[in-house]
């Protein structure tokens, strides 16, 4: 076994150990398993948010984009750097407080409590679970491929190991295991990426020297307009890259659940500083390494391997092992969050809500675990037999999530007039328009990203339909009271929490959701 493999084994064991360590803390009841007992501080909240937002794309896709497009690729990083603080400042405190008042345990349940109708969950849950399942499958594939690349183990076995470790600690400790492993993995990702960046700069003789050498290949690679120059630039793609990567996260249920698990609503404030600091250090690095790979590895066959191949070239063997652990960390921290979220949606938002409302917290936790296992088996089966393109499926899944959910999450916390019909039409139109735009091949002909179209459609839908149906579908009084309380700074009055029960705390008054 080579030294890189040893580092990976140590890393896998450490992640599994965290799962075991959080076993007793995490499974006391549904809130313990699904939200870690709402006990997370700013550092864990911020790094969990960031690491679960950044998948293997940061090590594979970002490097590939930079290798082929030069500094143009940094437009994606420009939006990405602000994604964390934007999400925390807009949704963080309000979603934490509102979810507690409404008694919501999952980010989909939160939507139904804010927009009281069973149709909200019946529509949101399948959209979310389908997108998350496809997204998690791409992370499995990326993990398997990465492990195969380093260890030489056949893909099927490498995939099995990667899936097995992720499922093990997700299965054991629930949200707390995912949050703490994500926290550790964010640090490993950061160390690994900065190590590659420093090694790259040393190998090429500094950033300025490297840029001058890249300019000799093609001066346009040094501009923000792409390899073909400013004449061929697609402004729609640039605007989409900046906006979509900054606001898109607000529609991802597996990311938004971080807000609900915060120890206090005010955690969002400190977490925003950690998030911006982490992003500034981490996000530009893979793009710059990808550009510099043009000098170090000018004849690379597969640009997706640019960052890894650079690491293999400029770093000593033991460091490559640590960097590989960083790559696996990026993949696994996203995969575990997705897996837990899809298990949660299936158990809480579908099974408990529509099949067996009277089940106990203990049963709910076990159903969530069972769902995680089933989804992992199906994901493994698809990934091992007919693995789809990682980048295409991942981008498509996250596009639909963003288009469907950004307006409903933002309006839920900020707009008192957002109502059930507005939310339903918004989610459906966001999904249909983004999927339709992609499938109709309109991206190439218009130069406009499907998420941009999707978000515009879903935003207009929630505004127009909510305003048009205010009289027939007014926002219930208890939701308005919760929103008014959320605006205030102070402890939540007891009477706003008095109607809660373990299952559907926010579903008062009865019958309000049957519209």
């Amino acid at each position: 076994m080579n030294i890189e493999t040893w580092f990976l084994v140590i890393y896998f064991v450490a992640m599994a150990a965290i799962g075991v360590a959080t076993l007793k803390m995490g499974n006391k009841d549904s809130e313990g398993f699904l939200l870690g007992g709402r006990s997370l501080g700013p550092a864990v909240t911020a790094l969990r948010l960031q690491s679960s937002s950044m998948s293997g794309y940061m090590f594979l896709g970002a490097g590939s984009l930079a290798y082929t497009k030069g500094y143009f690729s940094l437009w994606y990083a420009m939006g990405d750097i602000g994604g964390g603080v934007l999400n925390l400042s807009i949704l963080g405190r309000r979603m934490r407080k509102l979810s507690q008042i409404l008694g919501s345990l999952t980010s989909i349940e939160y939507l139904e409590h804010r927009y009281p109708s069973r149709w909200i969950r019946a529509i949101a849950a399948p959209i979310a679970v389908a997108c998350i399942f496809f997204y998690v499958m791409t992370q499995f594939i990326a993990g398997g491929r990465g492990l195969e690349m380093v260890t030489g183990i056949p893909y099927a076995w490498a995939l099995l190991i990667a899936v097995g470790v992720i499922v093990f600690y997700t299965f054991l400790g629930g949200y707390l295991a995912v949050a703490y492993t994500d926290f550790v993995q964010a640090i490993i990702m950061l160390i690994g990426m900065l190590w590659i960046l420093i090694g790259t700069m040393q190998a090429i003789g500094g950033w300025t020297v490297g840029n001058e050498a890249v300019g000799e290949i093609n001066p346009n690679l040094l501009t923000m307009w792409g390899p073909d120059g400013i004449e061929s630039v697609q402004w729609g793609v640039i605007i989409g890259a900046v906006l979509v990567f900054s606001i898109g996260y607000m529609g991802w249920p597996h990311v938004n659940v971080s807000h609900m698990a915060m120890k206090r609503p005010s955690v969002a404030r400190t977490a925003s500083m950690y998030a911006t600091g982490f992003n500034l250090l981490f996000i530009p690095a893979p793009y710059i390494v990808g550009v510099m790979a043009l000098i170090l590895l000018p004849t690379l066959d597969n640009p997706e391997l640019a960052v890894f191949q650079v690491a293999d070239t400029v770093l000593p063997d033991f460091a490559v092992g640590i960097v590989m652990a960083g790559i696996m960390a990026a993949i696994m921290s996203t995969a575990d969050a997705l897996l837990l979220q899809s298990g949660t949606i299936a158990s809480q938002d579908l099974f408990r809500r529509f099949v067996k409302p009277d089940m106990t917290d203990r049963q709910s936790v076990w159903i969530s675990r069972f769902t995680v296992l089933i989804l992992a088996i199906i994901g493994y089966w698809v990934a091992v037999n007919d693995p789809p393109s990682v980048a295409e499926v991942a981008i498509f899944a996250t596009t639909v999530l963003g288009a469907a959910f950004v307006p409903v999450y933002v309006a839920a916390a900020w707009w008192k007039r957002a109502n059930v019909p507005g939310a339903i039409v918004s989610m459906i139109l966001g999904t249909v328009s983004s999927v339709g735009w992609q499938l109709a091949g309109l991206v190439d002909s218009t130069g406009i990203d499907p998420m941009g179209i999707g978000i515009v459609c879903s935003t207009l839908a929630i505004i127009i339909v909510s305003l048009a149906t205010q009289r027939s579908h007014p926002v219930p009084e208890h939701v308005l009271a919760a929103l008014e309380e959320t605006e205030k700074i102070g402890a939540i009055p007891a009477h706003l929490l008095a109607g809660q029960n373990d299952a559907l705390a926010g579903q008062v008054p009865k019958g309000a959701g049957e519209k």
Binding site: T223, A491, I492
Partner: protein
């Protein structure tokens, strides 16, 4: 600078600077959120009122809105 065109330097340093500024402004505007922690602690000490336990003191200090930070 750094062997890059001026526009590239301006964009790759300027936009992150805007995000840093946004973060600082957010942190400044949300400085009053500490009051919420104090109110929660007081409510808990008073026998479980306020979040997260129902049934206790219902008179936690609820200040006015936070100035639009969040």
């Amino acid at each position: 600078m750094f062997g890059l065109p001026a526009a590239t330097v301006a964009i790759i340093f300027g936009i992150p600077a805007v995000w840093v500024l946004y973060t600082l402004v957010f942190v400044y505007l949300s400085r009053g959120w500490k009051a919420e922690d104090v109110a929660e602690d007081r409510a808990l000490l008073n026998g479980g009122g306020g979040s997260p336990r129902p049934g206790g003191d219902d008179t936690g200090p609820a200040a006015s809105a936070n100035g639009g930070a969040a």
